[in-house]
């Protein structure tokens, strides 16, 4: 399966000839939040929901064909990644006020980042993809899920909010499962232990029990 960024590029490429800039952002956001983890046949209902005007509805089949063609195109023919639109919409709506992260969320970010930097870029993308595919199991509110999804995709953006410890624990566990999937459980154990050791000092400094995340 193509990774999320590549598929987003394909969707963007397919939609570009038909949608205006103002129509594009919500369409991409909708795809990411509701359709990115669904099978290909769900594209038809995605296109239906994108066609908000009569003019677009008339060329619905054309849009769908363009999307399918783009998804099957080689990477070199796709437009560059527009970036995730999910968080941007919600953040701009909320005025993007800065959130003061507590110790557990800060250490979670440090630990996750450590885990990702220990693997190659391809695997990192696959791990993030795996986590995004399984985010639904965490039963977060759609707003939290969307903003978290956005953070996982563009990790340079601000962490959306302070999550509960159990959520963070499950996210680390998803990370571990993905590591098992791509490297096998023996290396996954090793990487987890290395990442744990690397952020231990920071956790102590912030008076947080790192193993609460594990």
């Amino acid at each position: 399966m193509m990774d999320l960024v590549l598929r987003r590029r394909a969707i963007y490429t397919g939609l570009k000839p038909f949608l205006s800039t103002t129509e594009m952002a919500p369409a991409l956001s909708m795809w990411e939040t509701e359709f990115s983890s669904k099978p290909a046949y769900a594209l038809a209902s995605f296109v239906t929901r994108c066609c908000t005007t009569d003019e677009l509805r008339r060329i619905r089949t054309q849009i769908l064909s363009a999307l399918i063609a783009a998804l099957e195109s080689p990477e070199s023919l796709l437009l560059s990644d527009p970036g995730s639109q999910v968080g941007k919409l919600t953040m701009s709506n909320q005025g993007a006020s800065e959130i003061l992260l507590d110790a557990k969320n800060s250490i979670f970010i440090a630990l996750s980042t450590r885990l990702w930097t220990a693997v190659d870029e391809m695997t990192e993308k696959s791990i993030i993809d795996f986590i995004l595919r399984n985010l639904a199991h965490l039963k977060l509110s759609s707003e939290h899920a969307n903003s978290l999804k956005d953070w996982f995709i563009n990790r340079s953006t601000m962490f959306p909010c302070n999550f509960e410890l159990t959520t963070l624990q499950k996210l680390i566990n998803l990370n571990y499962i993905a590591l098992c999937e791509y490297y096998g459980p023996v290396k996954a154990d090793l990487l987890l232990s290395q990442a744990t050791h690397a952020v231990e000092a920071e956790a102590i400094r912030r008076q947080f029990n790192l193993h609460d995340l594990l």
């Binding site: 499962i177 791509y182 459980p185 594990l214």
Partner: protein, 445 residues
């Protein structure tokens, strides 16, 4: 085992007439009371053999622990320790009666539950058979290692020792058992004990699914090596040692053929290891200690059915083929994405089938008899149908009610921590994510 049921029934019948008569054995068709010294010698031998079979539990525990990751070492040890304990009590309470009680239909024993009175000889037999029942149950633990809920596993062990094993045993080892009546040969339990363990393990691992990351979505197979090859090797030696009690003790008397049985056992085990090594070379695979030890155990499993009724050269051949089956079986299961941590299904299930068939093919004085081979095939098939589906239903019920598999968080931490609150090697965890000092502060799952 051939003589055992006859002796048991006779001694039980005599015990009803007079308590001291339970000491009586059977000689030919006539009932006579052997000298007390003969019974004493037989008892010494059978009890000693039972103690050797007990030692096999230690062998299984070490072998399985060595083949698992260190974060699950306590869990495997505990499973082997406790399935012996619950198996002992359940077989005494229920299993023994179902297996060796009065069996008018040929399908099930109906008395002798929780025996507390009777003859000395009956107690000797009960002791010996408790060890067999526990062996059958413990085979499963290795296959289901590293992801099974501890209590659910023990419920499974109870089901095996209380129902699945004794029902099968009543068909094959009870003198009125329908397979016994057909002439099915399984002297010491290639089918009754080992195939049974293998098929229960197969049902269990199918319902459990593989360990995290063992078989990835992309099709990659990740090897998960055990943490202690020394323990694995020593476990193999101890199992082999115990096997002399398992096979030679099944004479249930200090008889003159013990030497041949022990020799056949030794030859078959040795040939199993040699053939496992050779097949690894032929297939250009590394010569692993796990496949070598498993090869010897497969040889021992294979000869268990025919160790008393086979010439030494055929015993060697039986073991040789058993070793090859164990290696190929492991590869087959891997191909179909079945995660058996220690190779128990291949070693006990597949090699047990081969051994049972070989007992019919190489039957001394009646070799290659088609009728005998058909009887063996009927027994093998009936065993698979009963054991596999009974175990599937049992583990299915456990899965629905208590849950069979632990959560992914448990697998991440390791079952030693989540199921037992212990770490197997607290002084050697410098590079581990979880150390002893973290245990009191870990969040409850």
């Amino acid at each position: 085992m051939q003589r055992m049921t006859r002796q048991l029934i006779l001694s039980s019948t005599l015990a009803l007439l007079t308590p001291s008569a339970a000491l009586a054995g059977a000689v030919g068709g006539a009932v006579s009371q052997p000298a007390a010294s003969t019974i004493a010698i037989n008892s010494v031998w059978v009890v000693l053999a039972g103690a050797l079979v007990f030692l096999m539990q230690a062998g299984f525990a070490m072998l399985e622990t060595g083949m698992s990751r260190s974060k699950n070492a306590v869990n495997i040890m505990m499973k082997n320790y406790m399935d012996l304990c619950v198996g002992t009590v359940l077989f005494w309470l229920l299993g023994y009666g179902l297996m060796f009680g009065f069996n008018p239909t040929g399908w099930l024993g109906t008395d002798h539950f929780a025996p507390s009175d009777g003859g000395d000889w009956e107690f000797t037999l009960l002791f010996f058979h408790i060890m067999f029942a526990s062996t059958a149950a413990t085979i499963v633990s290795g296959a289901m290692a590293e992801r099974t809920n501890y209590l659910s596993y023990l419920f499974g062990a109870i089901g095996i020792t209380a129902i699945i094993y004794p029902v099968l045993g009543s068909w094959i080892w009870n003198s009125n058992g329908w397979l016994k009546q057909m002439g099915f040969i399984d002297f010491a339990g290639s089918t009754v004990v080992h195939s049974l363990g293998g098929w229960c393990a197969l049902a269990g691992v199918i319902l459990l699914g593989p360990r995290l990351g063992r078989f990835s979505e992309t099709g990659t197979i990740h090897n998960i090596p055990g943490h202690n090859v020394g323990m694995l090797g020593l476990g193999g030696f101890i199992l082999w040692f115990g096997w002399f009690g398992f096979n030679a003790g099944s004479t249930l008397e200090a008889s003159t053929n013990i030497g041949l049985i022990a020799l056949n056992t030794q030859l078959s085990g040795a040939m199993g290891a040699i053939s496992a090594l050779l097949i690894s070379v032929v297939l250009r695979k590394p010569i692993l200690i796990s496949s070598t030890v498993n090869g010897s155990i497969a040889g021992l499993v294979a000869i268990t059915a025919g160790c008393a009724t086979m010439d030494a050269s055929y015993a060697a051949l039986t073991g040789f083929i058993g070793g090859i089956i164990s290696v190929l079986g492991v590869q087959l299961l891997e191909k179909i994405r079945i995660d058996d941590v220690v190779g128990a299904i291949s070693v006990h299930g597949f090699a047990g089938v081969w051994g049972t068939l070989a007992a019919g093919i190489f039957l001394k004085g009646n070799m290659f008899n088609g009728d005998q081979i058909i009887v063996q095939l009927i027994g093998i098939s009936a065993t698979f149908i009963w054991v596999f589906f009974a175990a599937l239903i049992m583990y299915g019920l456990i899965k629905i009610t208590f849950g069979l598999r632990v959560s992914t968080m448990h697998e991440q931490r390791g079952l030693d921590i989540t199921e037992h609150g212990e770490i197997a090697y607290p002084e050697f965890t410098h590079n581990a994510a979880y150390k002893t000092e973290h245990l009191p502060h870990l969040q409850k799952l």
